[in-house]
């Protein structure tokens, strides 16, 4: 029920945020435009802004927020730790390396209108998570802790390589930085198409193992006695969660906080059963990012704020108020 409410709220916010931006466009005009009325009273520039800039941006905000939030649930489940986030085993450093290599090597390839600077971070993030997974699960015990430590070690090395590449390519350091900054401003339709395939795929994978995730929370031994194959479960979870993360970092760069806080908010609202928690968390993440981005592009207009600032300042008080008022807080 509360999930339906959240979903309805998400839809309403997505539509109404179409009317919000640096360039004011009246809601009535937006509605007429959406209903495809000839006489929407909007100028050509306003229609361009709506169709080519704002609409793809809202789609991407929705997908990225939802993806990071679902991936957050995945990694928090995997490590049985609510402090885990989608970047905990190297996805962000991998994305940074992917973007850096693409810029440094001057790769200009594009697949179906999709620039190298979208593909690079996606592949980089998947590649590094893959290496972490292979290294981490081959250790003596193959435990979550090994995976976590391998993630930290390999992320550090990847980050060091990124910094080194930026130092050696002084002229391009600023180009690299401009791609690494998490932002939804560069969203366009080609990116929407690819995320709208990759993100749901990862989501379904993760949702498909929701019951196993519930079992896994009981501990390695207990879940194994319930018939859970740990290795297979971990692999499915990581594939799903890193697919979600990769599609997010490819579309919008590295956006923090959403993947960490949305699962907590969702848990307070709907409980810890993963088959509800995963979609709820996605809804929360998408809402946070849509609202955050709408504020980011208006509050200092015509300039823009980095969306991460807004989501953190917005999400944190909300989360704290939920935390303090909730009777279930202790059971997180």
């Amino acid at each position: 029920m509360i999930l339906l409410v959240a979903f309805g709220l998400l839809l309403a916010l997505a539509v109404s945020s179409l009317a919000v931006g640096a360039v004011p466009i009246p809601m009535a005009g937006v509605v007429d435009w959406m209903l495809n009325k000839e006489d929407s009273g909007l100028s050509v520039a306003q229609r361009t802004i709506l169709w080519d800039l704002r609409l793809p941006r809202i789609f991407i905000a929705c997908f990225v927020g939802g993806s990071l939030a679902a991936a957050g649930v995945g990694f928090q489940g995997l490590f049985r730790n609510v402090l885990a986030d989608p970047y905990v085993i190297g996805a962000s450093s991998g994305a940074a390396l992917g973007a850096t290599l693409v810029v440094v090597a001057g790769v200009k390839l594009s697949l179906g209108g999709l620039g190298a600077t979208v593909i690079g971070p996606m592949l980089g993030s998947i590649a590094v998570v893959l290496v972490v997974f292979v290294v981490g699960s081959l250790g003596r015990h193959g435990s979550a802790l090994t995976l976590l430590l391998a993630g930290i070690a390999i992320s550090s090395m990847t980050n060091a390589i990124v910094s080194l590449l930026m130092f050696l390519n002084d002229q391009k350091a600023i180009v690299i930085l401009s791609w690494l900054m998490g932002s939804l401003a560069g969203s366009d339709w080609s990116v929407v198409w690819v995320t709208s395939v990759a993100a749901p795929l990862g989501f379904i994978l993760l949702w498909g193992i929701a019951r196993q995730m519930d079992a896994f929370l009981l501990g390695d031994a207990a879940s194994q006695s319930l018939g859970l194959s740990l290795m297979q479960f971990r692999m499915l979870l990581i594939v799903g969660a890193s697919l979600l993360t990769a599609s997010a970092v490819g579309s919008a760069g590295i956006i923090g906080f959403v993947g960490l806080i949305s699962p907590q908010i969702a848990r307070l609202l709907i409980g810890a059963k993963h088959c509800w928690l995963i979609p709820m968390s996605s809804c929360v993440g998408a809402i946070i990012l849509i609202v955050g981005d709408a504020i980011a592009r208006t509050v200092v207009a015509p300039a823009e704020l980095p969306v991460g600032i807004v989501t953190a300042m917005l999400g944190c008080p909300f989360f704290l108020s939920l935390l303090l008022s909730s009777k279930t807080a202790g059971r997180m």
Binding site: G21, A22, V23, V44, A45, Q46, T48, I49, D52, L53, R54, L101, V104, A105, G106, G115, T117, V131, V134, V135, L138, G139, R140, A150, I154, M157, I161, L164, L165, F167, L168, N169, D170, Q171, K172, I174, V175, L177, S178, W179, M181, S183, A185, G186, D188, R297, V300, A301, P302, A303, E304, L305, P306
Partner: protein
Amino acid sequence: MRGIRRTRPSTSAMNGFYAIGFLVVLSFVLLAACERGALESKVPAAKPPAADNSEIRLVDRLDREVRFTKTPTRIVSLSPSTTELLFALGLGSSIVGRTEHCNYPPEALEIAKVGSGTLEGISREAIVNLRPDLVLCKWDSHQPLIETFEKLGIPIVAFGPENIQEMFQEARLIGSITGQQAEAEQLVDRMSARLERFKAVVSTIDAQDRKRVFYQVWDAPLMTAGPTSFIGEILTTAGFNNVFSDLTNRYTRVNSEVLVERDPQIIFAPTTHSTEVKLESFATRPGWGNVAAVRDGKIFIINGDQVSRCGPRLLDAMEQMIRLGYPHVAAGLEP
């Protein structure tokens, strides 16, 4: 059983090491490749007009060809140096959008803002809303904007000279796109003549009188300008020996110990490093008390907007440096 358990982890650990080793080797191969192929941005150039003379074509710094079928009259400028250049070419009234940092000449302040100077702070919506027929962006930090505006069919040119000659070329290029060729030639001639005058004056300074200079780009971390930057260029042209002339990076962190050891006789710094630069702050740095420039009080603040923008006022900064460093030749700087 124990045997199996023992061998498995060790092979797996080996695999892990191979994986890491492979990554390391791969990254170094890539590094090596990158170092060699380090793609420089190209100086933009106008292309010969099409056969029927109906359109202007040019190749920008990123090697993109941009075409204009009519003379642009609604220009958005996304960097302060470009805005200054446009005004110097008499195009001030064609500018419809600028950044927060475009503060010169004073008339620029009346133009609509499209955001702050950084990529994140620029609103694409605000730019589209101005219906520009030419957007001039920075070739390095604004690349994501190019992807957006190319798709929208709004002509966008990657700009940003890295030295005085490139600034002249880009001035001519803007002139040829906007039909202000004559103004561009005049501007370049005027600036070239002034530059030659400076060089003639500087050439009268004996080699042993040339001063060792440190240019402080930033204080914490300590950063300077290498000889390949335009600041490095004006230092050298103004007759100074940059104490960090052995750097390959344009702007980079440097070691405070090396600075003390190289003992600059003059220190230049721009007006602000986010906060105003204080002259007193230099002497209190460990080991700096004995640096010649600090001891002799030869630390000079240069107008940051002039020295940090590769635009038409760069020569003003250069003149100021010559006057401060070599007051005995200052008289010759006037035309």
